[in-house]
Symmetry: C2
Subunit: 200 residues, 2 copies
């Protein structure tokens, strides 16, 4: 709990990891309220009730700080238990991926990408790649292997393009078409696209 009487001086008594968490949280908070362009190290320091020096000791730039805040806050898709069929496995994966995309950090990450310039965008694309895209790709690959072993996925349904269909569809329809991926639409993605694509 943050005591409203805390001042930078008293906040300075927080230990390293605790202070670090407060700074990352303040960065995410600033990002949600003022956006990427207006976010400043001063503003984040004030939000975390600490001094600018505490930030610069850990993150050489605003980009480093924000990338770290997003990376830390972005939820993970997590393990997908065997639900008995590829249909159920991929359905759960989609629901979990949607939760990451629409999480506070996921939304903030997209706003930053829209707002920042090209050089910074590469850095934030790196966060998406390492925290969302690569884990999703690997996880889907594992589900496909499980399906091949189970017998409800054709043996040659591996390869880099097949594992990208779900991430591509989730992102495209969300970002380009403005879809909110209601439950019914996720079910349609599985039944109209993934199950036919993978069937033996």
């Amino acid at each position: 709990m943050v005591d409203s009487r805390w001042s930078p001086a008293s906040a300075g008594r927080r230990r390293g990891p605790e202070l670090e968490r407060a700074i990352l949280e303040a960065a995410l908070e600033q990002l949600g309220t003022v956006g990427w362009n207006a976010l400043t190290m001063e503003g984040v320091a004030a939000g975390a009730q600490t001094g600018k020096a505490a930030l610069y000791r850990r993150w050489p730039s605003k980009t480093d700080l924000v990338a770290d805040a997003l990376r830390t806050a972005l939820p993970q898709i997590g393990e997908i238990p065997d639900c008995g069929s590829i249909r159920e496995d991929l359905h759960l994966l989609c629901v979990r991926t949607r939760a990451v995309m629409y999480s506070r950090a996921g939304q903030a990450l997209w706003s930053v990408l829209h707002e920042c310039d090209h050089a910074h965008a590469e850095r934030f694309h790196g966060v998406i790649s390492s925290r969302l895209q690569e884990p999703a790709r690997q996880l889907i690959g594992e589900l496909l292997v499980r399906g091949i072993e189970r017998g409800d996925v054709r043996a040659d349904a591996t390869g880099p393009l097949v594992v990208d269909v779900i991430p591509a569809m989730l992102m495209y329809r969300s970002k380009v078409c403005g879809s909110e991926w209601q439950d019914g639409e996720i079910a349609e993605l599985i039944d109209q696209v993934m199950v036919p694509l993978l069937r033996v």
Copy 2:
């Protein structure tokens, strides 16, 4: 041909459509050299060898001008003749869509989207939607119907999600994964994803 001795006064003799083309071309040129943020109505007017008033008579704002320049310059996917199989039809469609994405105007459109703020982005998303996304969706739908009639596409492979797979994959792997969609990768998209997805 633009005569290097032309001045705004002599350029003023150009007729409406000719002057309009020169202005739209100058806008695209400015976009490619200085980018969205640094583009000005003055700069475009100078590039088109005309005055600012000629621009404001036609486009109330920089956004209107640039959206119009992109809309006008963006190539169309065009009709897809019957190539004999859904495999060949979709291959040609992918090659044509790639050409639109990587055209000068297509690249400029993506740069603008990266550079401009959220309010303007909606306007430029509208250009993508009306000039690329909706035509692609409709065209793919027609190819699927042709395939169903021909007999190499299953009868229930219609619906909004199936027609979005190619645009989603082209965009996702290009914009998120940095793929350049070499010919071999397009062939893989057709053979590993689309043909299995659509087979009877």
